[in-house]
Structure formats: structure tokens, C-alpha cells
Chain length 224, copies 2
DNA sequence: CAGGCTTGTGACGCGATTGTGACTGGATTT
DNA sequence: AAATCCAGTCACAATCGCGTCACAAGCCTG
């Protein structure tokens, strides 16, 4: 599967409507009532427009992160204006990059081209190497010293999110949000079970325990 | 300027009144008649209590956003109850995060610690380096010459507070207050036990004893 | 549509954490 | 030197949070 570059914008603009044409299409059918209003996409990129200006964009970003079809997409958020808060929020929601809108056709095209050139480099980057642990995002396979770790979907997402934020305490809330599970609300204690199952899976592959519990706060992926 | 973590709450509670002490202070003098009732703050965080429960909080949040002194602060709103409407309003007003109250002093302090690690990610990660001792606030991990020190939560809080005020005698009262323990009242002699446990943990990691006892006064973290 | 796999949740028990009183030994004072 | 003071340490109990299990509902697959 090709790398998809996804642009999230709350103001897609008529001018972009036919910017991408004659391409295959897929729909984010799981998006729900607050989902994208329009979706224009091609094999290497997609533009997603949403209805609600504020939260839906971040929420959409999280869902894209959780969806296996777009889990390794390159997500760019289009910000209304350039302020540090929006930037921070976007990145925290899982966006890889951001640009400040509104976008002209040429600006987007430049951006897409730049992303495409980075794509090959990104192919190599789509692999986390954290000590003995490697996570290959293209085959969705995690290994401990070449030994495959048998993971269920949710455990894989959890491991990926933890590995993306090594040496950082992640609260149970962070983890729930990071896996894109906002609806319905998840009990925080459930995270304990996730961690337990993930630890067991790693151990079953002969691995150690890189997941440290920080009492009354959350968990850390210890690296180094 | 350091990142400030601001907690907005309509129910600060008496117990938090002197939670942060002996720190530099500034006032939000532009706040106007609906401004904060009390402001308790330190170099890295602030608790703002307001009079009107509903609108004033949101308004305050917007003003903090506009004020150059707090423009890049991390604002957390404390919500009375957990409903999506309030959450959306809080975020729309510029809040970065929210928690559902009421909060205990220790819980708030822990929260601040976790937030510091997140908000400072774009800067150099928050980290104390005191001779052979390093305290990494993002992973909540202390080390002595790269050797991890196994600390329980309270010991970590104690070490952090001591390390924040090196070469300064801290009374037992200071330490109790600095760790946010006011309810219930803590016997001052208990601090002796905390120090003892902390020393033992450092020694177990092959470390020395940077904690000097000042008889009849308190303890100092010796540096240099 | 049946069967298995996945996942969220309540319950349970255990272990970790922590405040406290008591005891001890060294330091300080008278 | 005796008396007093004070810090270090230990054992213990109460509490709190975490790991784990079993179960049920959901989801996917054939």
C-alpha cells in the first residue's frame, strides 16, 4: 500500500474540489456524524474536509491514526492561523506536519511534491528501532530481536504509540486518546489490561519488559 | 521564559491557598472586575481561581491567551463535571487540556509534573543535572551516573523538590508543604523517614549522599 | 448464521506505599 | 558527667493502586 498524504482542513475551498481527479476513491465510512464533509483523494494524498471547525479536526486525526488503512499515512493539518497552541494540539493529536492555510492550488501542489520526494526516505523511516524492539509499519509487524511478537490490533496500536513517545510518562488518558478511542468513553482502568496483555505478548516472544509503571500516573516506554 | 502551567478552577479550595509559596509572583492586573479572586503561582505553574463559575473562567482563559506574559502557557481547565459541552467550550476558549475536579493537592502536583514533560517537548526536555545526579522530568526517572535510581512516588517528589532548591536549608515544614501534603497534617518527624528512604534508594544505585542534615533545622541538597 | 477471536469491564486479591510510634545512639547543653 | 535533645532506623498497620482473571458483548470470518 502506498503512503497516503492526508491534508486535514476545515476550509477545503471550492478551488481544490477538482484538484485531484481521475483517482481511485475510498470513503471513511466509520467517521460518524461529525465525520468529513468531503473527501477528495488520490493514490498518494487525500484532502479531508470536516464540518465542525474545532474539535472534529483533531478527532478526525486521532481516528485516522487508529484506522489500519491510514495508520501509516502522513497527516498534515491545515491550520486557520499560525498560533503555537493550534500547532501543539495538532501534533499531539498525531499529525505529522502542519501548514498554515488557506491554501492555494499551487501551494498545495508544491507541498505534495515535497512530500512525495520525502516518501522514499519515509519508507525507511516507517520503522521504529528501540533497542531490541523493532516495529515495522509497512508489514505491521513488531519483533524482539528478530522474533516476531504476536499482537492483536489494539496491542499493536498501543505499542506503536508508546514507542512513538519513548521516555515520556503517558497517562492513561493520553493512551486512550492516542489510540483514537474517544467514543465511547473508555474506563481508564482498561488501560491496565491493555498494558498487561501487551507485556504478556512481548514476554511470549522472549522479550523483556520495557514498559515501566509510574504509580498513580501512567506508563513509560523506557529506552536507553 | 519557562512554560507556565496554569490551572483554572472555580473551586480552588482553602487547602491549595498556600500550595505554592516562596516563589516569584506576578499579578494579572489587567483582569478587570471579573478577574481572578486569587492567584497562586510559582515559576512553572499557577492556579487561578475566579469568582464567577461559568463565563469568567472562559473569559479568563481568553485573556490569558492574549496576554504576552502567558501566551505560551499551558492552560488546564478544571471542570466541575465531565460533559462534552463544557469540554468543547474550554478547548474553544484556548485551553490545552482539562481535568475533572475536584483535585487533591498531590494529584494536582503530579498532574503538573506530567504536563511539564509534555509541554516542554519542543524545548530541551526538562531535566535537572546536579553533579552525578540527573532527574528526567519527562520520564520521571532519576539516575546517578546513568544508573537508574528506583524511587517510590513520594521519594521522587522529595528528591525533585530538594534538587530544585539546592544549597538551601529546607525545613521539614518546607518539605511537607513542597510535596503538597497538607491534608491530613503530617507529623514533622515523618520527614526524617522520607529522607532516610531517599538516601537508601540513592545508595542502592551506587550513589553518594548529597543530602546533608542541618541539626534542628532541616536538610540541604549539597551541590558543588 | 455460527463459531472463534478480540476487547471492555467488574471484581478480587495481593503487593507496594507510606505515615507513625518506639527505640537507639550520638550530639549538645548544663 | 548527667541530662537533654535530636536524628536515624525499624516494624507495623492502614490504605491505595495495580495486575490479573473470568465473563460478556462485539466484531470479523468463513
Amino acid at each position: 500500500m502506498d503512503v497516503i498524504n492526508i491534508f486535514l482542513t476545515s476550509d477545503l475551498g471550492e478551488s481544490l474540489e477538482d484538484f485531484v481527479h481521475d483517482q481511485r476513491r475510498f470513503t471513511f465510512d466509520q467517521m460518524g456524524p461529525e465525520g468529513p464533509k468531503r473527501l477528495v483523494e488520490g493514490p498518494m494524498w487525500a484532502f479531508v474536509d470536516w464540518v465542525m471547525p474545532e474539535l472534529a479536526g483533531l478527532e478526525l486525526c486521532r481516528r485516522l491514526r487508529a484506522d489500519p488503512r491510514t495508520i501509516d499515512a502522513h497527516v498534515t493539518m491545515v491550520l486557520e492561523e499560525d498560533n503555537p497552541e493550534d500547532r501543539r494540539r495538532a501534533l499531539r493529536a498525531g499529525a505529522d506536519d502542519y501548514v498554515v492555510g488557506p491554501l492555494t492550488r499551487t501551494a498545495v501542489l508544491d507541498r505534495v511534491l515535497a512530500l512525495q520526494s520525502r516518501t522514499s526516505e519515509r519508507q525507511a523511516t516507517r520503522r521504529y528501532e528501540l533497542g531490541a524492539l523493532t516495529i515495522d509499519m509497512s508489514s505491521l509487524q513488531a519483533r524482539w530481536n528478530e522474533t516476531p511478537i504476536v499482537l492483536r490490533p489494539n496491542e499493536f496500536r498501543l505499542l506503536r504509540f508508546l514507542a512513538e513517545n519513548p521516555n515520556r510518562v503517558l497517562t492513561r488518558e493520553d493512551l486512550i486518546a492516542g489510540l483514537g478511542k474517544r467514543e465511547p468513553a473508555i474506563d481508564e482502568r482498561t488501560v491496565d489490561v491493555w498494558i498487561g496483555r501487551l507485556r504478556r505478548a512481548i514476554k511470549a516472544a522472549g522479550g523483556g519488559n520495557p514498559l515501566r509503571t509510574v504509580r498513580s500516573l501512567g506508563y513509560v516506554f523506557d529506552l536507553g
